[in-house]
């Protein structure tokens, strides 16, 4: 049996060639015997350089592999939220920048995401309570099937706020979203105030919103 080429989250040892394998090379001519004395040091130096480069690459990989932490994350905070234009579930065009001047909860979710389902009633309630003070809630549904599956879900859970159909272009604009829910809170100037990755408490979200209203 063989697996696909994807990386398994817990990194497995032994995927890199051993030093013995790496330094095992073709046989050298007999004439090269004398200079060979200096080679162990040179080889060691080369391996050290390669190791440093690889550790750097691995570190970069690891930080991308696990980009997720719970709670507000720092990257992009205080920066203007990337603008995007998509269709909502009724086929109307939606542009994020149109909401400038209002506080926005931008929630990336999907119908198959059970933790997202916990947050939805909170957003419904918060929208009812703070709409008059300038709150907007936008749900970005990441279902591959689009409005066909999202629309019945929206009706079933009485989602009273705008729901649009997302895609990878949008998630890329926001620095990549690897798991759901991921929620951005955007201030009245259109800047990202906080990012909440994974399920967080209602209190955390509500406090972040109230601070901006």
């Amino acid at each position: 049996m063989s697996n696909d080429t994807s990386q398994f989250p817990p990194q497995e040892a032994g995927t890199e060639p051993s030093i013995e394998q790496a330094v095992a090379g073709a046989s050298e001519p007999a004439e090269a015997e004398a200079p060979r004395r200096g080679r162990p040091l040179l080889t060691l130096a080369i391996i050290l350089v390669a190791a440093v480069v690889l550790i750097g690459l691995a570190h970069r990989y690891a930080s991308r592999q696990v980009p997720i932490s719970t709670g507000p994350a720092g990257e992009g905070l205080g920066q203007p939220a990337p603008d995007f234009m998509v269709k909502d579930i009724r086929g109307n065009t939606f542009k994020l920048s149109e909401l400038k001047g209002r506080v926005v909860i931008l929630d990336f979710w999907a119908t198959w995401c059970q933790p997202c389902k916990i947050e939805i009633p909170w957003f419904v309630d918060m929208y009812n309570r703070y709409k008059a003070q300038g709150l907007e809630v936008v749900g970005v549904a990441m279902d591959d099937e689009g409005a066909e599956v999202v629309k019945p879900f929206v009706e079933r859970y009485r989602m009273n706020y705008k729901v649009v159909i997302g895609n990878e272009k949008i998630t890329d604009l926001f620095g990549g979203i690897y798991g759901l829910p991921t929620t951005f809170i955007i201030d009245r100037e259109g800047k990202i105030h906080s990012r909440h990755i994974g399920l967080v408490s209602r209190e955390t979200l509500e406090q972040a919103v109230k601070k901006l209203l």
Binding site: S2, P10, P17, E31, I46, Q65, I68, Y178
Partner: protein, 177 residues
Amino acid sequence: MTGYRLQAAGCGPLRRFCAFFLACAVVVTGAWAQGARPSYVKVAPGATPVKAAPGQAFEVPAKFQIASGYHINAEKPTFDYLIPTRLEWTTKDFKLIGIEYPKPEQATFSFSPDTKLAVYQGTITIRSRFQAPRALPGGKAALGGKLHYQACDDKMCYPPASAAVEVPVELGKKARE
């Protein structure tokens, strides 16, 4: 000759460096490039070829490891909107009789403290039954398939994904007679 010696002395380590660096770079950057969509399920190692008698039914156990701290939905999830785990065989040489999924665990999570969800965690074995053909060119074949799943941890869920599985099958001698 001296020039040759010097060239040989410098070329060996350089070649080794290049080979070592390239090999490692392929491993690291390949994994890095796929970091955007990590796999939470992989085929468990140590599987041996399955032996089948010609024309007879035989069982194929496919073992999968779910990464620690993650779970995937059962074949029949608790809610209809959850994405079920499904093993799909793509092979044409063998007739699929049926697939038996393991009994799911009933577990609670921080996002579902009151409702138990039917999930798979740890290592699972999915047993499939096939009907072997009466003859097979060379007597060998491979059953190819994909496990479709959608993983979550205690706080979030990840996009639907799949893990490829391939099981070598050896057909008994009688098959070629």
